[in-house]
Symmetry: C2
């Protein structure tokens, strides 16, 4: 099924069930009003949401309305935990960071932005950079699970844009709030595209309307979500509603005719700049400026948008 959260003036918004083709939606009122509620009691609530989803897909839901992604908060608008991994070793390699080992960090989750919310940044010389990522939401995770067993704890999958301010040295200060696709989907919605703990779909990334990224999120995933979750829960339990971000979806380059080729574009500007430096000795692409837009989407075999599109603008943040 596909779930979303509509803005309603509250911090947690209103839980929606959205039709498979993203055309219609229905409030989940009467089943659960907030996404965290559904995650806290998934075994009881998910089947009821699934029933509503099927009724909605069959055109039989009585109070269905046209789905508007611009009304969406993040599917989970604030989370009790977010972890971010380094699932794509090629991204770390491009940036010259680490030895390709799996590293998992705690990340901010007190504000998770909706798909059409602006990304706010006080200084446009901060080196604002988008990052197209996959994110999952877990149920309760027992400590010490194997990576395969950890996969069983994954409830929902989303797309994410995790902005980084590349010119801000302090790690905490370099991370504005992360953003998420309009809908979160259960694993069965992905069919064959969910395989070996990753999402085998093309991350279509457009920057100011120009297509810049077409990386497959499955091809060069070095550490799958089960590995990331098992790493994070090695010494303690994780609670329901933990958001796990993959890190920037990335492809390794390859050598052809003595040149490094990178044919599928890029999912963050830092990777592009690293490529430019590798090819030409210097980076020529600048980071984002105010009013720049980024669009991130993934389509299924049928050509339909799976999660809806993230469509954001970089906007000035007013400091006090």
């Amino acid at each position: 099924m596909k779930l979303a959260t509509y803005k309603d003036g509250t911090r947690d918004g209103q839980l929606l069930v959205v039709s498979r083709d993203l055309s219609t939606a229905h409030y989940a009122t009467g089943i659960a009003s907030r996404m965290q509620q559904a995650l806290d009691d998934w075994g009881f609530i998910a089947p009821q949401l699934q029933d509503l989803y099927e009724t909605l897909n069959n055109g039989k839901a009585r109070h269905a309305f046209a789905f508007n992604p611009a009304m969406c908060m993040a599917p989970l608008p604030r989370a009790y935990q977010r972890l971010t991994g380094t699932a794509y070793a090629s991204h770390a390699a491009w940036l010259g960071e680490g030895g390709g080992d799996l590293v998992v960090h705690q990340a901010a989750s007190d504000v998770l932005l909706g798909a059409h919310d602006p990304v706010l940044c006080a200084d446009q010389n901060s080196g604002a950079d988008f990052s197209a990522e996959i994110a999952v939401i877990t149920g309760d995770v027992s400590p010490g699970l194997s990576p395969d067993d950890a996969l069983e704890c994954i409830r929902l999958v989303m797309l994410s844009n995790c902005t980084t301010l590349r010119h801000v040295a302090d790690r905490l200060q370099s991370q504005p709030a992360a953003s998420f696709s309009p809908v979160a989907v259960t694993l069965d919605e992905l069919g064959d595209a969910w395989d070996n703990g990753g999402v085998h779909l093309t991350m279509q990334v457009a920057w100011n309307g120009r297509k810049v990224g077409m990386c497959d999120a499955g091809t060069d995933m070095t550490y799958h979500f089960g590995q990331i979750v098992a790493h994070a829960s090695k010494t303690r339990a994780l609670r329901a509603g933990t958001v796990v971000s993959s890190g920037t979806v990335s492809h390794a380059g390859f050598e052809q005719n003595g040149k490094t080729e990178w044919p599928k574009g890029y999912s963050c500007i830092a990777d592009k700049r690293a490529m430019e430096t590798a090819l030409d000795g210097k980076a020529t692409t600048d980071f984002m400026q105010f009013a720049d837009t980024v669009r991130i989407e993934a389509k299924g075999k049928d050509g339909q948008s799976v999660f809806g599109a993230i469509e954001q603008e970089l906007a000035p943040l007013s400091l006090i």
Copy 2:
């Protein structure tokens, strides 16, 4: 006022108002059932809780009952964010970490333990170490505040025990869930002891019943809570319910008769071991073993416990 959360089988527990002397309590039902609710709408809810607190202190609350700290979850049992700072530069100095600059990290907040909950650890050779800390809970914090203005966003103060597994190399895996005092108190409860963004009270730490720490939490606080909050919110807003941990309360040593003296004991074993190494060339105190207990408390001028005591045991965690 003083607030606590009682275990009731749910993930968020039941909000309580607790009398100043910690003898009696009253459910806040009818005002707010969960602590996060109060934090989300503090301006509206806090005055009502304050009224109940005064009625309770006057012995006029009709359904008051004896307060039992063993029934407490953390005052905020799960939080949308936890930040941990390096407020005490002397602790970093003892451990030979960093140059004493303020560093703030995201920390886990999906599970915050109650004052009598066991600290769970799979392997007693992990180097389990207690850490006596001060923690605050903020309201909404606008980005770019000055440290002084950031102080105005602090709603509640608690004691905390932030266990670290010193022999676990991976930072994320070395941090079990943090624990909190039975009650959280508003700043006015601290009177003069709340000064310049810190808590000027003695952190009484006992390990297996033996008094080991009597550090004043105000004396050597290098960075106050306003500075930590302002650092974390330099580039983005923080939302209500952000827990901010001070890092290990620590005193700098001083030279006397050619020796380094450290008269007030220690708030974590690692500091003790660093002292031993400085004095004798090697650390002789081992880290915690299963069934070891730690007790952390702070008393006011009147000799009464301000926050109640953290009283925990290190217990084996069963891995799957």
